[in-house]
Symmetry: C2
Subunit: 454 residues, 2 copies
């Protein structure tokens, strides 16, 4: 039994609906279909979710519906219905549903927006189920409340409640294809609450866990995850199989194919995830698994991310001071700053963190606290750093990988500001100046994917 | 004006006393002489300090003096007096002094031992001053209490009190050579308290700071600090000049020429330290300075130390959890464990710490707390690790140093368990298995000191 999730671009038009039907029909194990709201049909198009937010914000401001904005949303559904040739009374139902939600009496603006924007997925699921049925297939729309997908009362960032898994597990007893709207659940008292953005991935992952699916298929619009950013490296190699750990390390540094929080429920249940292309379903895609056989050398992918900075602190004999590092981290926490890494020398330590949230004012406050409370000898801030991740299972035990990587960087004139290696068994991290980022990625890609291994 | 400190082996015999006199006379700037207790004359010899501790422990156990043990101490002084041909009544004074201290009424055993063992330095200073005077030089013994060297009331680990610097500064007004016993100071109420072991280096450093000496000369029994451990690398290069930071990083990983806490007072006053050989005083020795001109490539020394272990903790999405690292460090602190380094991946972190103090019982307690309190997915302990430090000023901004180092390690088949680079500007740290330690040091020495740079 498989859970199959389709992203917004996979359900953006009637043509896409037809592809989805073919995909579902081609494999009888595809039992639960998780549906996103219609996405962009072209670069200049708008996503239905964004249109719905505009509708909600207009109503909040003027206390009346903007009919033009509402029509834009309804048109998306009606053009799909027309294209696939199904009865158009469903479009009137969708319009009525959105109008009801827009005009609903509400106490809390965040919840109001959650309810309106979730209708994008909900109505698309209804439309897809109707289409399947008109094609003579046994299919039905599943309402998340009736199915028991209960979540915490956090608008825009709801977390699944543990009991939901038990509730949802009974879905596997139902006959036919089940079409389930992604992105939201319900509080116990029936209030709609959405997951964080890209939350349809989360819905799919929860369902895969609940029914103990053999596979969670995640259909999107790329053939595979690539071994490097295609905007930096020309025609990077596709990755066939990667582990959860590798996926996490890559997505940390800019690979954004899958919403990584979404993977937790599937990861906990050990369910493999297959990223596939709706527009090219015969391509094998990329499979995310617990363990894989290592066939391609030590490195599977090279990722990079900008926007980091470092706080360097030195103090003579710091090393002898019990609690120094912990106190330093506590100061950052007081400003709600999460640190990323902290390489250390004997009498110095650097804290690497993301630059957003670390403005000039906070910087000054933190520097003065480090001097005053920790009696540091020196504090220095370095901005505009990029982190380069070289990722691959088993890398740690591969003699010479570091040498190859650092030689490649040196060869292209990139200075290594920081190396963090030794905790993760699947990655090596280099800190470089942002201006060196692209050069660093290209040189590493050439070393590990193009040149003949030494 | 210079402060000159002589170690135990430099004052172990009459022959050594004569060398010390020549050294002092050869430079009129050598004003304050800091004296250790007589050390070993040969490999099988005992240090006076150790003999004194035996005397004290015997007395504590049996409440009477062991005359044989006492004679062993007195003999050391009398044989020096004989050799250098000075009046022997001073030896009777020394014997009387030690007897008084051994039989003194005491309340606290630790303080008792402090007082007895400090007499080793104190009497050697008296003896050296007497010898200088008999040689017709203007010289006098300085009592630390009268000079105002006040310390905290911590037996065996006394810390200098700030006011001491002001008190001691007036020593520079005194005429002649001042002979000052190392290793101890006094509490305000006149109780003798010793610094930590090798504390004569501390006394010298405090005095250098107090009189704002132009140089602090530290005479010992080696010609210089070497660029690598001579027991590992054959005939390693001598280091002419190294910075305080370099010294600290090297001494952290096994270079033990100077007691590194001892350097703090000199370091704070920016006073250079010259390590020289009593037995070869014309050799330039090694100078420890604030800044040096970099002439010898990026690396100045390679050190290594055994006895480390790592605690590896992984948790899916750890990276998103504010305070995870801090809480982890707090658990270690509860067991009084100081951590050395903490390389981190995205969802994992390793804590490197020294193995002593981290027994099996504490290991189990910590593992269970990490699982319970931090809800980690996995916790692993790795023991028998060695840290290799590659040290040199300016290394950080030298493109390619990492590549050279990691290539050298790979070339000798050493797997790198951990790299910690990016905080210290003067070092690169590699974690390897203990069995690989020697091979690692040799290969790095060959890369940076023997082979022609790439």
């Amino acid at each position: 039994m498989k859970v199959v999730k389709f992203g917004g671009s996979s359900l953006a038009s009637g043509e896409q609906f037809k592809k989805v039907l073919q995909i579902i029909l081609s494999d009888t194990a595809r039992k639960i279909v998780v549906v996103s709201a219609p996405g962009k049909r072209s670069q200049s198009d708008k996503k239905v979710t964004d249109l719905l937010i505009e509708n909600a914000e207009y109503f909040l401001k003027y206390r009346e519906i903007n009919e033009g904005l509402l029509e834009q949303v309804v048109n998306r559904y009606s053009s799909i219905a027309e294209e696939v040739g199904i009865r158009t009374d469903i479009v009137s139902e969708i319009k009525a549903d959105i109008k009801t939600k827009l005009q609903k009496d509400f106490k809390n603006e965040e919840r109001y927006i959650d309810e309106v924007k979730a209708s994008g997925e909900d109505n698309n699921a209804r439309l897809l189920a109707a289409y399947f049925k008109e094609q003579g297939k046994e299919a039905c729309y599943i309402n998340p409340f009736e199915a028991g997908l209960f979540v915490t009362d956090q608008p825009g960032n709801a977390q699944v409640l543990p009991e939901s898994y038990e509730n949802l597990s009974s879905l596997k007893e139902r006959s036919g294809i089940l079409v389930f709207p992604g992105f939201f659940g319900y509080s116990k008292d029936g209030q709609i609450l959405t997951f964080s953005r890209s939350g349809s991935d989360i819905t799919g992952s929860i369902l895969a866990n609940a029914i103990k699916a053999e596979l969670y298929e995640n259909f999107t619009d790329v053939d595979a995850v690539y071994s490097a950013n295609p905007f930096v490296v020309k025609n990077p190699k596709e990755i066939r199989e990667l582990t959860y750990r590798e996926m996490r390390e890559l997505s940390y540094a800019g690979f954004s194919v899958l919403h990584d929080e979404a993977l937790i429920p599937a990861f906990r249940a050990g369910i493999p995830v297959n990223i596939k292309n709706t527009n090219n379903p015969s391509a094998p895609g990329t499979k995310i698994v617990n363990t894989r056989t290592n066939t391609n050398g030590p490195v599977i992918g090279i990722a990079s991310a900008k926007g980091f900075c470092s706080i360097y602190v030195s103090k003579y004999l710091m090393n002898r001071e019990l609690g120094f590092g912990r106190k330093l981290l506590h100061i950052l926490e007081d400003y709600n700053l999460s640190y990323e890494h902290s390489p250390s020398g004997i009498d110095d330590i650097s804290i690497i963190l993301r630059e957003d949230g670390f403005g000039k004012e906070i910087e000054e406050a933190i520097i003065s606290r480090i001097f005053n409370e920790l009696e540091a000898d020196e504090v220095k801030i370095e901005r505009d750093l990029a982190l380069i991740m070289v990722v691959g299972e088993g890398m740690r035990h591969n003699v010479g990988t570091t040498a190859r990587a650092s030689k490649a960087l040196a060869g292209s004139g990139v200075n290594i500001e920081m190396i963090n290696q030794g905790s993760s068994e699947v990655s090596m991290m280099f800190g470089v100046k942002e201006v060196d980022e692209k050069r660093a990625v290209i040189s590493l890609y050439e070393e590990f994917f193009v040149s003949i291994p030494v």
